[in-house]
Symmetry: C2
Subunit: 768 residues, 2 copies
């Protein structure tokens, strides 16, 4: 059974009633972020029950020791640990001297938590009866500003219900934090200064080893019945903590309120000696706006995001809530304004999967950001990899490649590999293909070719060189083979001729050669510059071409399918449906060797290739491969259901498509994998978006034109989405009877719908 | 270049001249042991230069945390760490207050170290000039008693050469030791008591976690010019150390001597509360004999070992030294008297390869111990596995096997798996085959069938059940396949249908069924008992039989060879000889993925199967497989050259056989792998013995008869060895012209030589 305590709502995630067993799950689900920082929905006041404290700063990580059984040559020296950052949200509360702690209260009633996705804030309210029998009503609202992305704001309101009371707010900063995932007593933060200045406080600290300097800051203001009051606070301070205690007498039904602004200034953006000064400026801007002013800005900023990115679903409130949750979290994680950042699989919601960048970015996230934001955002994501090209070349050199061959890391923070399992780090090399594919995908969608001659071509050449060197000629097969890889299905390791890998390798080489030729003819200056820089000869290109043209692809004549890898048919081909449920999920129930020799597929593998390169295969071929592989697929990766949903929709199997859609869109809300406590699955949320837009909407770029093939699950009355296509926003509205298209702005747009070309004219609704 | 500083000698390992760069290498090479304990040849007096301190107690280990990148289900909770034990050999020396320290002396002359293998002692002598210009001559002799295996003895003699001097001996015990391989500041020993009683001292300590209790003890006695003198010592003591300081004035040319007895009593053999009392008894026995008396016993004990185990080589002193070094170290490591102990790959000479028991024991060591010791020793080694059968069944259950299927651990101290790489732990399952093969081998050699009905049958059934469950039917191949294994060649992981594994799996099942039938007919009580205990039905046996009869073996028609695994021919088949030397050894120069997809073989794999089951293949087949595989073999396992030497000899390729022999026999003395500092390769030393006896001597058991096919390398005048065959000691002497056979005792023995049957009669030399 999946969890089911989140209230269905169009625009909000809502929890009602206080359940200590849901606290960690809700801390994940109600997480907030603004691209620069983010935090789990931990309570402001002290909570002595089970909790997973987490506050994270984009780009701030720790290089933890790589601990392995036996060291293998080529392993990275470290893996990146997503680092819990100093806590600035804390506001301890005491009432007549007794701390407010929901875990120890006599009673908690009318507990309600809301994550308002439309406006970008988190709230919490409850009535609590303390051990001293005082009953109080509490309302808290918190958000991280999108506009001033170094700051967040909290409004904490309390009123005593049954008695007058002496109430204290103790806002504090604390840099004495640790990670949940450390067992080794490593210290991650070194606190340099703990200072206060009137109602402001600052902790300057830097991370060990990586030496990121961060100033954590706060300022608070108190109100009684919404009127500002001045209370002289007691100050308390330790080596890693500073706080102020504001105490006042509050009469029954009066409301005591604190506004706390806080956040981080980071030396990625400022001189490390200026962090306190910048913090003061930021606080001053925030104070000038006040809590309400900053909140108004926040609502406006989110309305602009939704204006481009919203998807509506009519007649299925859980599906509606699910898709908005996905879009909301993606926007909280990555705003696209900083090319040094990327999209971590857990965003700012947990510690798992150290490192921010996986192939998820290129394979799953870029389409979402391309279609819902300015195209500069997607270009930033491409440039991230361009900026890491030299490190990818070094990484390949460590593994014995040469002549500028590039192998991008499986997991990275700064371009260096930071994952340490040979079967992944050294063998899951198909990631290189996704990085090339993203360049193609970006050009296809935006029509911005300029990126390729300027930057992308060098990346493509490095990748093509890698594939050329990585393949070897098999005299036995009289073809080029690629041995010893892990494909997208991580439930097979060190396999030979993974079809997906061989296919994308061949495609990378062919695509690179095509671009070299095109740039030679049309961008001669760039051509000369790049060819000189990378020292590429025609003779070398011919060698690549030979490998691409003679690539081996495992194929079963009996089944008329491409084989996922050479030995797939030797496995005991028992479909998942015949497995006793007690075996599932196999990654928790089975030993690794048993998983490896089973036919069970963690996520789309051959079908991932059919998704990327669908024009190269007929629907009949797709159906045959879907029917062969899906029955062995356990979907134990969050990235699996979305691709299957898209493929099922393409095959007009709408029931199946809908089932996969639900699984991807409410993966975290309903906690399908029983692990939401650890954080959310951010990157797969982009897959959910694809399931609707590409799956149900059938959106493609065909013949350089936006194209649709709309379908609708029978459970829905209708759905709509928007796409920013080459700076024109197209709105698509699909119902059971018809599909309408409209366009913002003043320009016409030709699109293709179900194979017919139509023109959308501004201010006109086109019905199909 | 290999190292070349050990002086050639018939019976001793000799080093002349003091070289700080050789200290760690010599500490390994001059290691001493007595089966119950052992130690690196560390200096008794303080040495401030680079050194690797190591003293080890059989069966005393530490369960270190398993640290892996990402945890896999089924991994063991810990891996065993060979534990550096408290130091009892220390005798600090000071001369006129200046510590004697060879690293800081002004000058060290006539330094000589000797490991006398004939008599089982280690000596060291040198002339040192201290910073205070006093010149002294030092002679030290040390041994670990074979007879009293809890004790060792040191005689440390010093005389001032150029001046009278005040000399102090400070014998001490120290339990504040650590391991070289710990980076985690783990504490391994907890010291309980540090006590002295007159000239005796005791440190009681126990290991953390495993809670092995050990008393480390010592007693010393001083002599001036060989006359016992009484000196009242100063006692010094800390939480983990205790020592006595004996000081006296020594005239020029006088000799000041200390005899120190020391060692360990361990709760494996005694009640933990009696350890001090037992230590006192042991000291009392040793003192009664005195240093010289104990040494005489030692010489006698070693002469008895050599009486059975010696191999002579005439005309090649380095080869002679090499083989004796191997025999000596094997005897130092394992005496065979305690069925709870086994043969660690590094013996008592280093920390690497935690755990004492690998498949090395069954595949390489048992033949040596069978032929050079009482057959009870080999039976003890078999019983070790019988005693661990339940844990092997549990181990298999962890991996999803059932119904009593047994998977023996890859590495163990107590029957539990303690290695944590999935490709080894879960996949190098052929180890199960070697354990069954050893039962067969023991019966074949000793003719003692009783072990099988009594104990071995249960082991065989557990192993057969494992293989039956581990194979799966491939509809594609219409055969049973074994997927996802690592064969003896660890340079391929997660391969399918490793020929060696499939072959030994088939053999195990067939051999088990044969034994079941034999025992049913001939040992009905045992049959009933065992069948009841393991709940084995005829129906189940038929299922096994079906798998064995339909096992798939990869074969190349083109090359007419069995393929090491399904995909071997897809590799780029460049022979090792075409590799640039800068690539070697590949395990230090290449990344793991590159090794895995290369054709390079770490150690005999298909050829290991041909070695075990040679009667099933013709010499022509052997030659074809040798010629195919050896050119791809890098012999980067110490276990590789011996099998190749035996096969080359069988094929009459004596130059090659000799080359491989040299490599195995002087692997450590000449430091082929540039790692002797870390310790010796003990288990492969048994392979060296096999190279002579089975390789050159061509010894086999054929038709239940001892059989020889003697050959001799052209570099040798002659060689001889002895074999304890079914309690009769046969001596074989091979020269360039003839081979002679003789027998000890009073009974005749029929043997087969070059296919002809001969009778050896006592007191007669038979020439062939």
């Amino acid at each position: 059974m999946n969890q089911d305590y989140i209230k269905p709502d169009q625009w909000s995630i809502i929890e009602e009633g206080f359940d200590i067993d849901s606290v960690k799950s809700s801390e994940s689900l109600f997480s907030i972020g603004n691209g620069a920082m983010g935090q789990r929905a931990n309570f402001e006041e002290h909570y002595s029950g089970p909790t997973f404290q987490g506050s994270y700063i984009a780009g701030v990580y720790y290089p933890d020791k790589t601990r392995v059984g036996w060291w293998k040559n080529g392993y990275p020296e470290y893996f990146a640990k997503v680092l819990n950052a100093p806590n600035w949200i804390g506001i301890n509360v005491s009432i007549n001297g007794e701390p407010l702690d929901l875990f120890t209260c006599k009673n908690v009633e009318t507990f309600r938590r809301e994550l308002n996705m439309k406006e970008g804030w988190l709230s919490r309210s409850f009535k609590a009866t303390l051990q001293n029998d005082i009953q109080v009503y509490v309302e808290v609202k918190r958000f991280l500003s999108l506009d001033l992305d170094e700051i967040g704001a909290i409004q904490y309101q309390i009123h005593p219900i049954n008695k007058d009371a002496k109430i204290s707010f103790e806002p504090y900063l604390n840099s004495g934090i640790t990670n949940e995932d450390t067992n080794w007593d490593d210290k991650f933060w070194n606190t340099l200064n703990v200072n206060s200045d009137k109602n402001q406080a600052f902790i300057e600290a830097h991370t060990m080893k990586t030496n990121f300097h961060v100033c954590t800051f706060m300022e608070s203001q108190c109100f009684l019945n919404n009127k500002s009051i001045v209370i002289k606070p007691e100050t308390f301070r330790s080596e890693t903590e500073i706080g102020f205690k504001f105490t006042t007498d509050v009469k029954q039904r009066e409301t005591f309120t604190i506004h706390k602004f806080g956040g981080y200034t980071v030396d990625r953006n400022h001189d490390k000696n200026e962090l306190v000064a910048v913090a003061k400026e930021t606080l001053s801007k925030a104070k000038q706006l006040g809590f309400e002013g900053l909140l108004s800005q926040q609502i406006l900023a989110w309305s602009k995001i939704w204006q481009k990115a919203d998807i509506t679903i009519d007649g299925d409130i859980k599906a509606q809530q699910g898709i908005r949750f996905n879009i909301f979290q993606l926007n909280q994680t990555y705003s696209g304004t900083d090319a040094r950042l990327n999209i971590g699989p857990k965003g700012f919601t947990g510690e798992k999967y150290g490192g921010s960048t996986y192939w998820d970015t290129e394979a799953y996230c870029i389409p979402f950001y391309m279609a819902t934001k300015d195209q500069k955002v997607a270009r930033n994501l491409l440039e991230y990899r361009y900026n890491h090209l030299n490190k990818a070349i070094e990484n390949a050199e460590k593994l014995g490649f040469k002549n500028g061959a590039a192998l991008y890391p499986m997991v990275t923070m700064n371009g260096e590999e930071c994952h340490n399992e040979w079967e992944i780090t050294f063998q899951e090399i198909h990631r290189n293909g996704a990085i090339a594919y993203a360049i193609y995908n970006y050009h296809r969608f935006t029509d911005d070719y300029s990126y390729i001659p300027e930057k992308g071509l060098e990346v493509l050449i490095g990748i093509a060189r890698f594939w050329y060197q990585r393949a070897n000629f098999s005299s036995f097969k009289n073809k080029y083979v690629i041995l010893g890889v892990t494909g997208p299905n991580e439930y097979e390791n060190n396999i030979n001729n993974n079809w997906y890998t061989n296919y994308i390798a061949q495609w990378c080489i062919t695509y690179t050669i095509k671009n070299i030729e095109h740039i030679k003819e049309n961008y001669n200056t760039d051509y000369t510059r790049v060819m000189h820089k990378v020292q590429l000869s025609n003779a070398e290109i011919e060698l690549w071409d030979n490998v691409a043209n003679n690539m081996y692809f495992p194929y079963s004549k009996e089944h008329e399918i491409f084989l996922q890898q050479d030995s797939f048919l030797d496995k005991e081909l028992i479909p998942v449906s015949d497995l006793d449920k007690s075996n599932r999920p196999i990654n928790q129930k089975w030993s690794w060797d048993r998983i490896l020799r089973s036919p069970y597929i963690k996520q789309a593998d051959v079908l991932q290739g059919f998704y990327f390169f669908e024009d190269n295969f007929t629907d009949e071929e797709l159906a045959r491969h879907f029917d062969f592989y899906e029955p062995f697929t356990v979907h134990e990766s969050s990235l699996s259901p979305c691709v299957h949903s898209i493929q099922a929709a393409k095959l007009d199997r709408m029931d199946q498509a809908y089932e996969f859609y639900l699984r991807t869109s409410r993966l975290d809300l309903d906690d399908y994998n029983h692990e939401v406590e650890e954080g959310l699955h951010i990157t797969s949320m982009a897959g959910t978006w694809m399931s609707i837009v590409e799956g149900f909407g059938g959106m493609r770029i065909k013949n350089n034109m936006l194209s649709f093939n709309p379908r609708i699950p029978k459970q829905w009355h209708g759905y709509s989405f928007k796409v920013n296509f080459r700076n024109q926003i197209v709105k698509v509205n699909v119902s059971q009877n018809e599909t309408t298209f409209s366009i913002e702005g003043n320009q016409d747009l030709q699109i293709s719908v179900n194979g017919k070309i139509l023109k959308i004219v501004p201010k006109n609704l086109i019905k199909v």
